[in-house]
């Protein structure tokens, strides 16, 4: 049954090709794209069910044996991330087909290619293949970012493309160095070989590992490599920005995967090489994100900095690389992806109801559906800033609890709690400005925006997702604990990919 693993990559790829053929009939294109996204969501559920049986499964592309061919690997972590992208993309697609997809050409094919890249990056078990899927994802995202056009998007798009091209070049340098000293790029094979690198090559290996970390940190928007994010996401069309909420998580995923499996406890000269760099950078990310939230004058900028801030909390937990902190980091990943997407959708819904005020944080006449939108914004703000009872609070509590025994617990606790306060202030000020102060402004919005309550549904679904995440925190956490356990004991991953070869290698080590 392991051929299911390839479905989350193949489905969007085929859908994208089909959608290109259907470009003359927008209505049909929309329906096919919606159906393809729904199918993708179903297949990611199927893949998830396969993974929670506990075994690590691998799929050999072209049936070449493992270290020579490319493998896709399904473990609990990749299955969870694929499921997350399936859920997020379905909600985003529902929002996009209410009009955004008609603002430019080829929205749907690009959207499907983006999903293919994201799912491929989650599933692949080969470092160079990871690069290729990163590129698929990025190339689609360049097109999506420019969707709708306009000088603002072109300016932001140039910076976004330039910084990511630089990142890709660094990725290739890192891949080259690692291949040069180990002679393999298969992650499971690398995990066995990095500890056997000759002493003379150890410095090269460490350079390669840190370059790789730099590339992933760029994707994960870790300070000081985060400056591209607020510009790019704020300029992107709303559904695209909501989908991009998972792109930063691809960076975080790659950090977790490579720096537990390859450069983890058994990494030889490069064991835990990223850990001392992540913590200070993540704490700075928290501070910069929170300051950005306070300084924002536009709702979408505020959401962008809140996303940067949440990446900080996530990576603080990752930096310890033990089972408990990884559990907390994974829970926070699920939470922050859903709520980040919901907030981008909400800021778009608010902007399109406020006429010339759009999403500026200034009082305007009362917008349509103010009560429901206000309620949703209130819930989303609670979840994002980490107030009880929603999932942000549980995630933050888990992070604080997991870092209690660390040497730098004092720093972590004070920065996390202080920046949470700043984010709460930022969000409550924004909500007050948008919904309460507007009550005092006389007049009506001209022309009155059409206000269908149904358009709020996708954002509401994502917020419901975080509510479910808090209600089901027990089972979710147990699943994530098992995931983290799988990550800190990479043996099962290596056995699944290499099969008998790993056993033979171990036998020679013993001898």
């Amino acid at each position: 049954m392991s051929s299911w693993i390839v479905a989350p990559i193949i489905l969007p790829a085929m859908a994208a090709a089909l959608l290109l053929l259907l470009r003359r009939s927008p209505n049909l294109q929309r329906q096919v794209s919606l159906a393809a996204t729904a199918l993708l969501c179903l297949s990611s559920i199927r893949v998830f069910m396969l993974a929670i049986e506990g075994d690590v499964l691998s799929y050999r592309l072209g049936d070449w044996p493992a270290p020579f061919g490319i493998v896709l690997v399904l473990d609990r972590l990749s299955a969870t991330m694929v499921l997350l992208s399936g859920v997020l993309s379905s909600a985003v697609m529902l929002h996009a087909i209410r009009g955004w997809d008609e603002k430019g050409h080829h929205f749907h094919p690009l959207f499907q290619f983006q999903l293919m890249g994201i799912n491929g990056a989650f599933l692949t078990g080969d470092v160079f293949n990871l690069f290729v899927f990163f590129e698929v994802m990025l190339i689609a995202s360049y097109g999506l970012l420019l969707h709708g056009g306009g000088p603002r998007r072109l300016g932001a798009g140039f910076q976004y493309v330039a910084i990511n091209l630089l990142g890709s070049t660094l990725f290739l340098f890192a891949v080259g160095i690692i291949y040069g000293v180990t002679g393999t790029l298969n992650m499971a094979d690398l995990a066995g070989k990095v500890s056997q690198v000759a002493a003379g090559d150890a410095a090269l290996l460490r350079t390669g590992a840190l370059l790789l970390f730099l590339v992933f940190a760029l994707k994960a928007a870790l300070v000081p490599l985060h400056w591209w994010l607020p510009t790019a996401y704020a300029a992107a069309p709303a559904p695209v920005a909501a989908l991009f909420a998972i792109m930063t998580k691809v960076g975080a995923y790659a950090i977790i995967r490579v720096f537990t499996l390859v450069f983890g406890a058994e990494g030889g000269a490069a064991a835990f090489i990223a850990a001392p760099w992540i913590l200070p950078a993540a704490l700075t990310t928290l501070a910069i994100g929170a300051i950005g939230v306070l300084a924002s004058r536009v709702l979408v900028d505020l959401v962008c900095f809140a996303v940067v801030w949440s990446m900080g909390s996530l990576l603080v937990a990752v930096s310890l690389f033990d089972a408990r902190s990884l559990t907390a980091a994974l829970y926070y990943t699920l939470h922050s992806t859903l709520i980040g997407g919901a907030l981008f959708l909400l800021s778009d819904l608010i902007a399109c109801r406020r006429g010339r005020w759009r999403d500026d944080l200034e009082p305007s006449p009362v917008m349509a559906n103010a009560a429901i939108l206000g309620g949703l914004f209130f819930l989303a703000a609670i979840a994002m800033s980490g107030l009880p009872p929603l999932s942000g609070f549980i995630g933050k509590l888990m992070i604080l609890d997991a870092t209690r025994g660390s040497d730098s617990a004092g720093w972590i606790w004070s920065v996390v709690l202080a920046t949470s306060l700043l984010v709460i202030i930022g969000f409550s000020r924004a909500g007050t400005m948008l919904f309460w102060k507007s009550e005092a402004v006389a007049g009506t919005l001209a022309p009155p925006a059409p206000a269908r309550v149904a358009s709020l549904a996708p954002a509401a679904v994502l917020i419901l997702g975080t509510a479910l995440l808090s209600l089901g925190a027990g089972p979710v956490t147990r699943h994530l604990e098992a995931t983290a356990q799988q990550l800190v004991t990479p043996r099962s991953y290596m056995d699944a990919v290499l099969g008998g070869l790993a056993e033979a290698q171990r036998a020679t080590e013993v001898r």
Binding site: R98, G99, W100, K103, F128, V132, E135, I139, Y142, L146, G148, G150, P151, R152, L154, G155, A156, G157, F158, Q159, V161, A162, L165, L166, S168, T169, L172, F173, V175, G176, I177, Y179, G180, L185, T231, A235, A238, V298, D348, L349, A351, C352, R358, A449, P450, R452, S455
Partner: protein
């Protein structure tokens, strides 16, 4: 040969990084191109430098060159070529629409036309 290749990679990367830090879009693009040339040669050299050895199986060959870096370089060339074309188009469109080719200017928050925003 090693010294020649290594210094070529070094010079290309240095020139690339210098140009990427310039403030107009044309030097930035040229810098990107230099850097991608550097990485291509670098990847190629990571398979070790050999002369007159076939990368694929042929009868009568005593030793082989590592074929994998050559495959990686092909992929990298295709991707960087496509991306360079894209960024050239982007820079041109940006210049025509904003009248400026500076990359370090803040992105103006231009008022978007009314039909730009979704009306649902």
């Amino acid at each position: 040969m090693e010294v020649l290749i290594a210094s070529a990679i070094g010079v290309l990367s240095a020139a690339g990084i210098y140009l990427i830090l310039r403030q107009r879009s044309f030097p930035v693009i040229i810098g990107m191109t230099f850097l991608s040339y550097a990485v291509n040669v670098f990847l190629f050299a990571m398979g070790r430098l050999t002369v007159d050895r076939p990368p694929i199986i042929s009868s009568g060959a005593a030793a082989y060159a590592d074929p994998l870096p050559q495959a990686l370089v092909l992929t990298a060339i295709v991707i960087s070529f496509g991306m360079t074309a894209l960024i050239v188009v982007l820079a041109l469109r940006g210049y025509l629409e904003t009248g400026s080719d500076r990359v370090d200017e803040g992105i103006p928050k231009l008022p978007e036309p009314a039909e730009e925003r979704l009306t649902s």
